[in-house]
């Protein structure tokens, strides 16, 4: 390539007006060996460019496997089964509404429980019998309080008499 030509191109290059094709021409020119000394600095630059273009990413690319979403769904399924089980169980319990539905053992347990409850309640009744004494005391107290009214009456009259005097 003529020196004139390349100098023109280089000026355009410096002004960032060259196209990619023209830049390729320039690089091709500087790839050869006999470069006029005043263009030596360009040569260094293009050497560097072609050198750094060869650099490669040599490390192996490691990509983590996509997180398996199956496990999340397994937990959801587990919760659903548990809930369904509990619901079913509760339903079954509620279905037994009359004594006929109960088995022999259940009936026995029921009777025993009733017996225990009866025992407790009889003890409670006995205790409440003793409360009668308190009731008596309280009625007497009320009577006494009623008698206090006489005293009030007396006081009133006494005051009036004192005033009149």
């Amino acid at each position: 390539m003529a020196l004139d030509n390349i100098e023109q191109l280089l000026e355009k290059y410096d002004n960032a007006e060259t196209t990619l094709a023209e830049e390729a021409q320039i690089r091709a020119y500087f790839a050869q060996n006999d470069i006029p000394p005043h263009l030596e600095s360009y040569k260094l630059l293009f050497q560097y460019v072609s050198h750094s273009r060869q650099e490669k990413f040599t490390k192996a690319v490691t990509l983590p496997a996509k997180r398996k979403t199956i496990y999340q769904w397994v937990s959801v399924a587990a919760v659903v089964t548990l809930m369904a089980g509990a619901y079913y169980q509760v339903n079954q319990m509620n279905q037994k509404t009359s004594f006929d539905d109960l088995s022999h053992e259940e009936l026995l347990a029921y009777n025993q429980t009733i017996e225990v409850f009866n025992l407790v309640s009889s003890k409670l009744n006995k205790g409440s019998g003793n409360l009668e004494a308190f009731k008596l005391v309280s009625s007497k107290l009320n009577e006494g309080a009623g008698n206090l009214n006489y005293l009030k009456d007396f006081q009133n009259t006494a005051k009036r008499i004192i005033k009149n005097n």
Binding site: Y13, D14, N15, A16, E17, T19, L20, E23, E40, S41, Y42, L44, L45, Q47, Y48, V49, H51, S52, R53, E55, K56, F57, K59, V61, T62, L63, P64
Partner: protein, 169 residues
């Protein structure tokens, strides 16, 4: 999308992601980290990835944002990114030193550019995107991209010329 499909989609530009991260973060390790993270993010959104009409441009934007964020948080923590990029090539030692030297000059100069210009130089000169794509990736207009690029190119060359002359004289 399966892993293999995803990798097939990402393969063509994963190096570009890496190079852009490295341009911004400088250190190999940091750049590898950032690349890995960008890819992970893409993978996590892989159901919506097919909706983007240009996954590559989208990834480059993502990379840019991620790296700038990292730089910012590093600065906030007052940490310096340490980069000890040990390399072992089997080229002859002399050639290697010579090569590395001039290349290191340029990369030093590049490091000195503002972030914006770094990104643009990277995308244009190294990855060869056209201006329209770059403008879209960076959410800028084309003229602004051109201006920044021109500024960057001139700075680089000016400094290179200076360095070069100092080297000789």
């Amino acid at each position: 999308m399966t892993q293999t499909n995803f990798l097939k989609l990402v393969m063509p530009f994963k190096d570009k992601i890496y190079r852009l991260s490295k341009r911004l973060l400088v250190s190999n390790e940091e750049a590898e980290d950032a690349t890995q993270e960008v890819l992970l993010k893409l993978w996590k959104n892989n159901t919506s990835i097919e909706k983007y009409n240009n996954v590559e441009a989208f990834s480059m934007t993502m990379t840019k944002n991620l790296c700038l964020d990292r730089l910012k948080s590093k600065q906030a923590q007052n940490l310096k990114i340490v980069h000890s990029n040990y390399q072992d090539h089997n080229v002859s030692l002399h050639k290697q030193i010579e090569n590395n030297d001039s290349i290191r000059w340029v990369s030093k100069i590049m490091e000195g550019l503002p972030e914006q210009q770094k990104i643009i130089v990277q995308l244009r000169d190294i990855e060869e995107y056209d201006f329209e794509e770059i403008a879209k990736m960076l959410d800028m207009n084309e003229t602004a991209v051109r201006v920044a690029l021109s500024r960057a190119r001139k700075t680089i060359r000016e400094q290179l010329t200076n360095k070069h002359h100092y080297g000789i004289r």
